[in-house]
Amino acid sequence: MTSSSLQDLWLTYQSTVAFIGLNGLLALSVYTTLSCGQLSLAQAAFMAIGAYVSAILTFHSGAPFAVNLAVATLLPALVSVPLGLPVLRLKGVFLAIATIGFGEVVRIFFVNLDYTNGALGLTAVPQRTSIWMIYAALGTALFVLWRIRGSRAGYALEAIREDEPAARTMGIDAARYKLAMLALGAAFAGLAGALEAHYTYMVSPSTYSFTRVVDMLVYAVVGGTSVFYGPVVGAAFLTALPEVLREISARVGLAPGPLRLFVNGAVLLAVILFLPEGISSLPRRIRDRLRARREAHAA
């Protein structure tokens, strides 16, 4: 392969690579709150806050991009605290509904805010995001979640997920841990929002609708939530799949479009049916299957 065709390949797929990273970060933000058993669907709102505040800072201040990103990471985490204090008393589906409500409030706030150009959103945001920044952010998030696992806090989170009242009688301050994880997830979402805004040149309120949260949740579920990197695997798979299918249908000579969507849906369904613990559980399942076969042979 010549270097120019390699370059073509990169040019064709660099935005896919960027979105794999962004979606991975968003999937981790859902996973973070999920790791202590809380389903928060306010992640798109946190993402919106990160995107808007970073874009506004880019337009109106001379601050370096790193400072913008830091603000876009911290502000959603701060906002999540007053939201979490009342809302995290709710459980399961009630928490999900309350956080959807918050998400809609934030979205509609931006739709009606003249300062941010209402429903049209902010356009011509300078491109400041490089792909390495996206992957540095994703790597940082993975590192943090990896180190939490197996720590005193990590065990506390697992205990809360399994049986919150019992965890509390071990002296675990469940409310504080749940709030901390909501804030951490909000920080990841805000950072992803800021990076995305400065990659796609725009901030539009319709980007941060309920369907966006559903996408994040699907990444996490398809990738698997029993390990911390599962959501990233799911995001990579589901972000790359349409591109791969487009390439295949083009080679085979089929018209892209409806068929691609159909196959996309079929693959999703197959994963959920046959890999209920997500794609990230595949290596373990293959290992178990092989071992069972070896033992059957030995017997």
């Binding site: 005193r152 065990y155 675990i172």
Partner: protein, 254 residues
């Protein structure tokens, strides 16, 4: 007295599950709490551990009132417990369950682990070793790395006791620790409870196995319909006509 309940009452709707109960547990004492089914024993443990607040009355630990505090605060003050319907974290191993129980004792700021400091690794090794030592104490060494859900009933109860001990509580509440155990296991639990008390932890023991209660307890409180009907040494309580009436029915006592 280390732990005392003064006129503690808890109603559910119109029903008083615990109706003005008073009792006192001394340091290093094994205090039995017995009574017929539905007498309010488990409700009383739930009140002491803060799972539910009392409707009225006072619960005092070492001179400070703890009634109405959140359950994690009460745990931090030094009261941990086991559950009648075992509540282990079933996806975790036995050892990890005990590690969760050690939450209050551990001093492990997350940033140290993030920075890969040797002190963090040393703390983790020490906590893990302590958890394994506790499992050895309840006779669960060989099964330490088994998932809790794969353990037998008796094994799960022993892991729960180890988990409750992991924070070195001042008072441990045991809710029917020998339910579903065979006689050999019951003897082992009796020895364990006595050992725990000798080590300076007080024990409030709810138990249906009267023989065990008589054998291990220093004092016994008898509840019936939420009220304390007798309180004293095992010998005193065993002679008490009100206790015999509650257990065998009114006519037998008459």
């Amino acid at each position: 007295m280390l732990l005392s309940l003064q006129g503690v009452r808890r109603t559910f709707g119109g029903l008083a599950a615990v109706d003005g109960a008073s009792l006192a547990v001394g340091t290093g004492e094994v205090h039995g709490l017995i009574g017929p089914n539905g007498a309010g024993k488990t409700t009383l443990l739930n009140l002491v551990s803060g799972l539910i607040p009392p409707t009225s009355g006072a619960i005092v630990l070492d001179g400070e009132r703890i009634d109405g505090l959140a359950s994690h605060v009460i745990a931090a003050r030094g009261i941990t417990r086991t559950y009648q319907n075992i509540r282990l974290f079933s996806a975790l191993t036995a050892a990890d369950n005990v590690l969760v129980g050690a939450h209050l004792k551990r001093n492990a700021p997350l940033w140290r682990r993030m920075a890969f400091l040797p002190s963090a690794a040393a703390e983790e090794r020490a906590a893990r070793a302590a958890a394994l030592a506790l499992l050895a104490r309840v006779g669960m060494s060989e099964r330490a790395f088994e998932r809790a859900s794969n353990l037998s009933y008796g094994e799960q109860r022993r892991v729960e006791i180890a988990r409750a001990l992991a924070s070195s509580p001042r008072v441990m509440l045991l809710d029917e620790p020998t339910a579903g155990m065979n006689p050999g296991e019951v003897t082992a639990i009796a020895d364990l409870i006595r050992g725990v008390a000798r080590a300076g932890h007080s024990v409030l023991l709810v138990e249906h196995n009267v023989k065990l209660v008589m054998a291990v307890c220093d004092r016994i409180t008898v509840l019936d319909f939420g009220k304390v009907i007798a309180d004293g040494t095992p010998a005193e309580v065993g002679r008490d006509p009100a206790v015999i009436a509650a257990y065998l029915g009114g006519e037998a006592a008459a």
